[in-house]
């Protein structure tokens, strides 16, 4: 690796001047010692950057190896009696978390030197507080066997509300939503070695929940008349006229001006309307408007064209609107 001991490392707090050592050592020996420490530090920084780059492009195995090597080399550098970047200890802790090694990260945190803590208090505080860890750190530590329980607790807490919300929208029922959310986490944990620390974990979690819900609905379809949910056939012809614009004029209040009772009533009606919708329409509405999937993506998922999916979205909107109008009229 090309190395110039007089050149600092970009982004780091670096002092690469050779130490002169004690009087017993010659200047040359001291310089060599310092140089070996600096070489190691530079090597660790290089490996850390490679790890970050690999994670950025989704090469998780390579990223993990680079981060592990970066930690190993950094630990070696930290034991050298030579000058090194002041933030090397902090970076080593961050790399350790990036490859899921919470034990080493916490050890580095406990052993951090006062000198290394200067100006980096915020970064060390992030490492000391599991709830403040980056998603990638939490996921990397949960991937390990056995997983780090503190990290898992933090990850579950971070995404529990959006997950429960999605499950509530899918199942229209609080108890079922709780079960589905818990099943989702169990599914994620059973395949945790396949989690990608650099991926979009929230989207992944919601996708698992939606897939589990769809699977349960497919079982309902096979169970026929015994099933408790209504499931539409993908091949059923959909007839739509020009259709009304999908606003709910005259039947719904302004969402920002609702009193508590109105809010409760509207929530109830929305749950009822979702419950009445056939599985396909509910899935399509949630995919399109909560997940932001395009019609092309929805169609692709079902093996249908974008045009077909677009028709489904319009039909789903129309069905939902009818249900809401019906419920609101009865309510008044």
């Amino acid at each position: 690796m090309p190395h110039n001991p007089d050149v600092g490392v970009s982004g780091g707090v670096v002092d690469l001047r050779p130490t002169t050592g004690s009087g017993a050592r010659s200047d040359n020996e001291a310089y060599e010692l310092a140089r070996s420490g600096q070489v190691l530090a530079m090597r660790a920084l290089d490996l850390g950057e490679k790890g970050a780059s690999a994670r950025l492009v989704g090469e998780e195995s390579a990223a993990e190896r680079f981060f592990q090597d970066a930690v190993a080399v950094a630990l070696q550098a930290l034991h050298e009696p030579s000058a090194r970047p002041l933030d090397l200890q902090l970076r080593a802790a961050q790399w350790a978390l990036a490859c899921g090694d919470a034990v080493t990260a916490r050890h580095l945190l406990a052993e951090r030197s006062v000198e290394a803590g200067e100006g980096m208090a915020e970064s060390w505080a992030q490492i000391s507080d599991t709830d403040a860890w980056l998603d990638a750190w939490l996921i990397a530590t949960v991937r390990r066997s056995p997983p780090d329980e503190l990290a898992l607790n933090a990850l579950v807490r971070r995404y529990w509300k959006p997950l429960f919300s999605r499950c509530r929208m899918l199942t229209s029922n609080r108890e079922s939503a709780d079960d589905l959310a818990q099943d989702t986490w169990c599914r994620v944990l059973r395949g945790r070695d396949r989690l990608k620390p650099g991926g979009n974990f929230r989207a992944y979690l919601l996708m698992i929940a939606t897939n589990l819900w769809r699977d349960s609905k497919r079982s309902d379809l096979r169970a026929g008349s015994l099933a408790d949910g209504r499931v539409s056939s993908l091949d059923r012809e959909i007839t739509l006229g020009d259709g009304p614009a999908v606003t709910l004029a005259e039947i719904l209040p302004d969402l920002t001006q609702l009193e508590a009772a109105e809010r409760a009533s509207l929530k109830h009606d929305l749950d009822q309307a979702l419950e009445r919708l056939e599985t396909l329409w509910r899935d399509v509405l949630i995919a399109r408007f909560l997940d932001g999937e395009s019609c092309a993506e929805i169609g692709h998922r079902y093996g249908r064209t974008e045009q077909t999916a677009s028709g489904w979205v319009r039909r789903a909107l129309s069905e939902m609107k009818c249900c809401m109008e019906d419920l609101r009229r009865n309510a008044h």
Partner: protein, 188 residues
């Protein structure tokens, strides 16, 4: 009477309603479960119920005794070697065979189709398939399988690196290095 512009400004669309409901559902979320509980629930069933697993694995001996001849002669006619299988329902275990119809690897992903012999009168639409090693009573992994309209079960699973490497050259006509414990998905 509101003007059209006022209505457009204040009347929510279905999208806004869904987002509004989702936001409120977040606020209604119960406390998050503890990691320890989730880890316990996520443990494979054979670790949570080792006694049950031992009973089911003992059922493979009965299959060997009942179907041993059929297992060899089927393969001798050029077919695949049937895989011993035990279906475990609540308090009822049934021994039978599974014919491997299709086996394909793509990277670490295994795609498998199998048919039960004899086919149960009321086949389960979804099964949890536990792969048990043949050289020891050791569960390897489990995967969900769905019943196809043709009456065969299909599953797809990403294998661990070790298993994928060990099975990379496996062909559908080979003697399979696994046995099945099958559990209805809704009881799994």
């Amino acid at each position: 009477m509101r003007t059209e512009a006022e209505i457009m400004k204040t009347e929510p669309t279905i999208e806004q309603l869904l987002r509004w409901r989702a936001a409120h559902a977040e606020a209604e979320a119960p406390p998050a479960p503890r990691a320890a509980l989730l880890l316990e629930l996520a443990r494979p069933w054979w670790q949570r119920c080792p006694e049950k697993f031992a009973v089911l694995v003992a059922g493979f001996d009965e299959i060997q005794a009942r179907f041993g001849h059929a297992m060899e002669t089927d393969a001798g006619r050029g077919g695949s070697f049937p895989v011993p299988a035990v279906i475990s329902r609540t308090n009822v275990e049934t021994s039978l065979l599974a014919d491997i119809l299709f086996l394909h690897f793509r990277g670490r992903t295994l795609r498998l189709r199998f048919q039960l012999q004899p086919m149960p009168e009321l086949p389960e639409p979804n099964l949890d398939v536990t792969f048990v090693a043949t050289d020891s009573p050791r569960a390897m992994f489990s995967a969900p399988a769905s019943l196809s309209p043709g009456g065969d079960y299909r599953l797809e699973i990403e294998l661990s690196i070790e298993v994928a490497q060990a099975w990379a050259h496996l062909r559908v006509t080979d003697r399979m290095p696994f046995r099945f414990v099958l559990r209805p998905a809704d009881e799994a």
